[in-house]
């Protein structure tokens, strides 16, 4: 009674009315209470399990579609790509035993039509202006160049910070620069292979994107190099 009676003082009329015509509590055996609660719980659980069975494949399919679209975009249309799992500083094609594949750190390696690896699509995240940014970027370890970048999730200020996702000129800046990339004022980066033009007025958000990519590349570079060398040796 008290729980709902006190939602908000605004609903005072509501709670007094409830108090007035609520029936007096009948005597019930505790066993009956438990039985009722359990049967309600079981019914709810069953309904939810059924709904889960029906909806989960659709949700997963949608998620896979989004990931695929993002990978294709940042690798500029690879012929096909496969996921690799990052564990202990190395990349493996199969998930280590005992770990949930969905929860592991993943990167995607893309191939062109001849089966040659053209680069990695690497998801990354880090603090932005408002909240954490999630993005995915394409990276070629052979030339140390970025291929592309796409924001996956961001809560930057609408109209200001969110231009890091919506401003195509800014997104295009991430095709080609060598890592470590550095943010420069628009137009000041002529002749600098590392330069990325930042958005005027959204400097902090732009810098956040650059910092996230640099940090991630730095952390993964040895693993990526090793992997490409191994693959190259095997071929």
């Amino acid at each position: 009674m008290s729980v709902s009676g006190g939602h908000a003082p605004k609903s005072a009329s509501l709670s007094t009315e409830m108090a007035a015509d609520a029936p007096p509590p009948p005597d019930v055996r505790p066993s009956r209470l438990i039985l009722i609660l359990c049967s309600f719980g079981a019914a709810c659980g069953l309904a939810l399990a059924l709904a889960f069975e029906w909806t989960q494949p659709r949700i997963d399919a949608h998620q896979a579609m989004l990931t695929e679209a993002a990978v294709r975009e940042v690798l500029r249309g690879p012929d096909h790509f496969t996921p690799l799992y990052v564990s202990g500083g190395t990349l493996t094609a199969t998930a280590p035993a005992g770990a949930d594949p969905a929860k592991l750190d993943r990167v995607f390696v893309g191939y062109d039509q001849s089966g040659k690896a053209i680069g990695f699509a690497i998801p990354a995240s880090g603090p932005g202006f408002q909240d954490n940014l999630k993005l995915i970027f394409g990276y070629d370890p052979a030339t140390e160049q970025l291929i592309g970048m796409k924001l996956v999730d961001q809560r930057e200020t609408p109209g200001i910070g969110d231009r890091i996702e919506k401003d195509l000129a800014f997104v295009q800046e991430f095709a080609g620069p060598r890592t470590p990339i550095e943010g420069v004022k628009a137009g000041r980066g002529q002749g600098n292979a590392h330069a990325v033009d930042m958005i005027t007025g959204a400097t902090i958000s732009s810098r956040a994107v650059i910092a996230i990519i640099n940090k991630r590349v730095q952390a993964l570079a040895p693993a990526l190099q090793n992997y490409t060398q191994q693959q190259g040796g095997a071929r």
Partner: protein
């Protein structure tokens, strides 16, 4: 590690203040902020339950919900309701004075969406145990700050001579909007 934790804490308290930016726990924000003292107490009670919830949610996520993610909402709300009940009994036993002072606010916490919101956000972001507690502490501090600010402004508003049609919740919401605007200034606090 420490920088990570402080980012979580300050982000939850100021940059992404639960009440003023994420709009969680508005019922109590608008309902019990008539006086500073009650607002402060409500904030303290909220913080306490938030930290407990964060711990409970971590346990649930770690040991139970991995097998049945579709039961998440039910499990969280039931655990929160139970927690609030336990806290209520505990406070009643240990300190009847405090219990009297908190009065209606303790059971009110069950339907406070900030608590459930914390559990859900913590799950979505995959925080570990310590990160979760830091997040809950930050959120609690942010809530308390927002409630106290609002309470002190409203005490003054009560005494001021406002037009007849503004003596309603409308003016309170406009004030809340102004505070929220001020809190937007905290954005970018942690960016390079």
């Amino acid at each position: 590690m420490l920088k990570d934790l402080s980012w979580i804490l300050v982000s939850a308290a100021l940059v992404n203040n639960f009440t003023l930016t994420l709009f969680l726990g508005l019922c109590s924000f608008l309902g019990v902020t008539g006086k500073v003292s009650t607002a402060l107490r409500m904030g303290a009670a909220d913080t306490f339950v938030l930290v407990l919830t964060s711990v409970a949610a971590w346990f649930l996520n770690r040991f139970v919900l991995g097998y049945a993610p579709y039961l998440r909402i039910i499990a969280f709300i039931v655990v929160i309701a139970a927690l609030v009940q336990i806290v209520e009994m505990f406070v009643k036993k240990v300190s009847p004075t405090l219990f009297r002072e908190l009065g209606i606010y303790l059971p009110l916490i069950t339907t406070n969406c900030a608590i459930l919101g914390l559990a859900l956000f913590q799950t979505n972001r995959g925080y570990n145990f310590i990160q979760g507690v830091a997040f809950a502490l930050g959120a609690g501090l942010g809530l308390t700050l927002a409630l106290t600010l609002m309470g002190s402004i409203r005490e003054r508003v009560e005494l001021s001579d406002s037009p007849i049609f503004a003596r309603s919740m409308g003016i309170v919401l406009i004030i809340a909007g102004c505070i929220s605007l001020a809190f937007m200034g905290f954005g970018g606090l942690f960016s390079s």
